[in-house]
């Protein structure tokens, strides 16, 4: 991984007709980095990828790859790989010919072609399927063919659209480690799209959280998980108790609540359920719901602050429905938000 910017998007704006899908996106990626575009469905992840690949013309802004402005370079000259969410294999061709397609376009022939295709198929464990019809394979296998097809041409950048979301739970874990391995082995710069924060946190070197066509936060998985910048990101990564802050007091239900300690100067604070202290503290609430989840027990409390979600060690004695419980929102563990709403 070098320190130099490899891909940069500068004020990139994208639209479908008159509807804006992405506005003023700014983003940089270094060589060899594995970047995740994370966000709920419809936030513009696929659109952004299509624009980087050249399948869509930006209405504004610039795309620079490896020091060259490629904003107006046609898609077939960009040398960027894209693994479609639908895999988009060529139904009339065998697995071998699918993988060979891009190499043939580059004029690779004969023995060299065979070797490269076979190496590609081997790296995804599908060498023995070379002569099958591509669309006769299972979903997971099709995806690996699609991956091999994109990788054998050694693109400058490889993008994957929701590579894990069409797979069942087992395959998803396999594919996750496979992607990680391939990226390590090839040192390829990769962008992958996901709406699943767990996947993004597990795989990426850097995460870009998107919302409504704009970037909400960019950071390492640790940044995103521990230091969400906005209430949207906080909610997305599991901070279920989020409050506005004014003059050092929590705002809930239009009322102000003083916290036990000195508040940081931030517009909001957020707590994961596990950060809420139960059994002592300045606040109190009624137990509305209890759920047992193995080593922890989750509670929903009805409080003057609104519903509070808490999780405690399941070994502790359980509170029962309707019971009054004292609780605290410790300022020390809270994540300060830079923007709320």
């Amino acid at each position: 991984m070098s320190d130099q910017t490899y891909l940069s998007l500068e004020n990139l704006s994208l639209a479908y007709g008159k509807t804006t899908a992405v506005k003023d996106l700014n983003l940089t990626i270094r060589k060899g980095e594995l970047l995740a575009l994370l966000g709920p469905s419809g936030c513009g992840k696929t659109t952004t990828m299509r624009a980087i690949a050249g399948l869509m013309n930006p209405v504004g802004g610039k795309i620079v790859l490896d020091g060259r402005d490629i904003t107006h370079v046609p898609a077939n000259k960009r040398e960027i790989g894209l693994v479609f969410q639908s895999y988009a294999l060529f139904p009339h061709l065998t697995v071998f010919e699918n993988v060979a397609f891009g190499l043939r376009m580059k004029g690779v022939q004969g023995n060299e072609l065979r070797q490269k295709v076979e190496a590609g198929l081997k790296s995804v464990g599908l060498l023995s399927f070379a002569e099958r019809k591509a669309t006769d394979l299972s979903g997971g296998q099709q995806q690996r063919v699609s991956l091999a097809r994109s990788m054998v041409v050694q693109p400058k950048l490889l993008m994957l659209d929701e590579p894990l979301s069409n797979l069942d739970a087992r395959l998803r874990l396999d594919m996750r480690s496979e992607l990680q391995r391939l990226q390590k082995e090839t040192g390829m710069t990769m962008i992958f799209v996901t709406h699943d924060q767990v996947e993004a946190l597990a795989l990426a070197d850097k995460i870009v959280v998107m919302r409504n066509g704009a970037i909400e936060q960019i950071g390492t998985p640790e940044d995103i998980y521990n230091r969400p910048a906005t209430d949207f990101v906080a909610d997305f990564v599991g901070f279920e108790n989020i409050f506005k802050l004014r003059d050092g007091k929590l705002i809930a239900d239009g009322k102000e609540f003083a916290l036990g300690a000195e508040c940081p100067n931030a517009p909001g604070l957020a707590w994961r359920p596990g950060m809420v202290t139960l059994g002592e503290g300045p606040f109190s609430g009624t137990v509305l719901g209890v759920s047992f989840a193995g080593n922890i027990r989750g509670y929903v409390l009805d409080t003057p602050l609104g519903p509070i979600r808490a999780e405690v060690d399941a070994a502790r004695p359980a509170y029962t429905l309707g019971e009054q419980v004292a609780f605290d929102l410790p300022v020390a563990s809270a994540a300060p938000l830079h923007r709320v709403g």
């Binding site: 690949a53 050249g54 399948l55 898609a75 077939n76 000259k77 960009r78 960027i80 790989g81 894209l82 479609f84 639908s86 988009a88 294999l89 060529f90 139904p91 009339h92 397609f101 891009g102 376009m105 580059k106 097809r149 994109s150 041409v153």
Partner: protein
């Protein structure tokens, strides 16, 4: 009881009316007698053999083949890009184009033939062969557009984008991944167009000139003058040719999926 017999009986009568005459024609073509009659007198191949010796049949068969193959190819050359454009892009006049393209099915063929004769052949001096060619192409075009559109609708658009990203031009992607994937539809359209053109009577009725007439028109003319079993023999041969083509198409291409 009567109700239970009704359905099979209707079916039987329908088959009798549809297939009966055809069987009679087939039987009559093997007659050894001099006139077209049923039951046939004796058994021989003489009329089947005679068909191949009649010069005007040979000529009009050539014309019909030329029209069926040439007209269908022309209709496909026009129809494939049109279907592609209508399926992949939101064109401003797509509906109008679709309507115009299906006009030849809606307008009675005899009017198409008359119009071409009245406004092109007579005043402009367009050759009869060209007029026939234009008429048959126009007639086949709706089938070509329909069948090709149907197979394009079953083809994902993103495979073209995949091809482009892998280095192919847009046009190259059309030839490399679109055409190969709709070849079944194209072959089906070809067969449908071929058979439609070959069996076409009304459009061709007005469009015949010295030495230029299609086979069905020629057969009509022949029957008005000569009443021997050769016409039955030719009809049987054509029917078996059509059946053979459609059967082969179904067997190897799954023809009925596209029509």
């Amino acid at each position: 009881m009567i109700r239970r017999l009704f359905t099979p009986l209707t079916l039987f009568l329908m088959m009798l009316f549809l297939i009966g005459p055809f069987l009679i024609i087939v039987a009559a073509s093997f007659s050894a007698g001099e006139t077209l009659a049923f039951p046939p007198q004796g058994f021989s191949f003489r009329w089947i053999i005679k068909v191949f010796t009649i010069e005007s049949f040979r000529q009009s068969f050539g014309v019909s083949m030329f029209l069926a193959i040439g007209g269908t190819l022309a209709a496909l050359i026009l129809g494939i890009p049109a279907s592609y454009a209508m399926s992949r892009y939101r064109l401003p006049f797509a509906e109008t184009v679709r309507f115009l393209v299906s006009m030849p099915i809606i307008v009675p063929g005899i009017i198409v033939g008359l119009a071409l004769l009245r406004y092109f052949v007579i005043p402009v001096g367009m050759s009869v062969t060209l007029a026939l060619f234009v008429a048959h192409t126009a007639l086949i075009l709706p089938y070509a557009v329909r069948v090709v559109s149907a197979s394009l609708a079953n083809l994902r658009a993103d495979i073209e984008e995949a091809a482009v990203i892998l280095g192919s031009s847009r046009l190259g992607a059309f030839f490399r991944v679109v055409l190969p994937n709709i070849r079944g539809g194209i072959l089906s359209a070809f067969i449908l167009g071929f058979v439609t053109s070959f069996n076409q009577v009304p459009v061709s009725l007005f469009l015949s000139g010295p030495g230029v007439r299609t086979l069905p028109i020629d057969m009509l003319g022949y029957m008005e003058n000569v009443f021997d079993p050769s016409i039955a023999a030719l009809s049987s041969l054509l029917a078996f040719l059509s059946i053979g083509i459609v059967f082969a198409a179904e067997r190897f291409l799954g023809f009925s999926r596209y029509v």
